[in-house]
Subunit: 188 residues, 2 copies
DNA sequence: TTAGACATATATCATTTTGATATATATCGA
DNA sequence: TCGATATATATCAAAATGATATATGTCTAA
């Protein structure tokens, strides 16, 4: 699913500026989809060219001149159709696991620092998600929050459970930066 | 961390062609990092220009003409440094959760199909990961596999546990495609 | 009261990455 | 020996990131 489509979806919730959309990504979609201004504004522009959204410039208010986008009937229809057609999957890019994959090349204190950092990372994400539960949400949105909490705590707990063991093993192992090849099957 | 850096890391394991690197991504890094040919080949080219890798054309073998890349000492050093400096985090893009977020706009049978699809998706990923455990691995690599299994099963089990409930609730609720606004706080 | 920090708001752009396509040879099984 | 699949490289338009620039509004502590 392209970002354009997702913007359409967010405009189902309420009329919004590009800035508002960015906010929604950071607040409500934070744990499963990111987006940058560099893609949001061009998306909105294209969407308007295609007739899926309309925009008007606000005259009053604290920020006159801001551009508010509204979904058109065509855009609504298009979103429903796209949504029905997207097959569910997920993509993960974990710098943390890259780090762990090559952890034999790190020094033990560095590895320790990374593990602690990651545990904190998950903790802060969890706190953020849990705070969302204070508000009322549709069943679907509630599902995404609870799903996120479930996944995040599983990962945090895994680190908690294995950190000491990993660190102990790591301290005892030899290499660390040496140029020798890994004891790994070529086609692993 | 850029793909270039990661390619360097994979060349720590063994000399490889662009194709081999793609294979490693699909087999060993599958559950936490993807990469396409369109970025792998250019990365390798740049890496060579920068002196981080060297390449030679194979003359014999079943595929004469293939270009084998080797890490240079400089490349090795560079990788260790980059690795120590990357702060651990992870990025998730879940089309599945996008679907769930807007699930009130889907028809119940469609939602049901998506949920089943996702459960299968996690199952097949799990099978793949579990098969990796047959081989011997460094502690770090073993960690990435077990971490992946842990996270994947948490997510699969969450769907299993809540699928019926979600579907029941969904069937009872009204909207589905209607243009009415969501009962959601604007700044959720 | 006012300077500085932070929030709101939009825009642009080089660089990176994706995803699709094209091409060619090798291998393996029916 | 035909066709499917695996090995191998390359290119490119389109999408997305991440950084930067700009401007105004609001809140707070000296």
């Amino acid at each position: 699913m392209q970002l354009k489509t997702l913007c359409l979806g967010l405009l189902e919730i309420s009329d919004a500026t590009g800035y508002d959309i960015k906010q929604m990504f950071e607040r409500a979609l934070n744990h499963f989809h990111a987006a940058s201004y560099g893609s949001i504004y061009p998306s909105l522009k294209q969407l308007e060219e295609e007739g899926h959204v309309r925009s008007r410039i606000e005259t009053g208010g604290p920020h006159p001149g801001k551009r508010l986008f509204t979904l058109t009937e065509q855009g609504h229809e298009h979103f429903i159709k796209s949504l029905s057609e997207t097959e569910p999957d997920e993509t993960i890019r974990s710098e943390f696991l890259v780090l762990m994959f090559f952890s034999h090349l790190l020094e033990t204190p560095v590895l320790q620092e990374k593990l602690e950092h990651m545990e904190q990372y998950y903790d802060s994400k969890l706190t953020m998600l849990e705070s969302l539960l204070d508000q009322e949400h549709s069943a679907g949105i509630r599902f995404t929050i609870e799903f996120g909490i479930n996944a995040l705590s599983a990962k945090r707990d895994f680190i908690r459970k294995h950190r000491e063991e990993i660190l102990r093993e790591h301290k005892e192992s030899p290499d660390c930066g040496s140029r020798q090849k890994l004891p790994v099957e070529k086609h692993l």
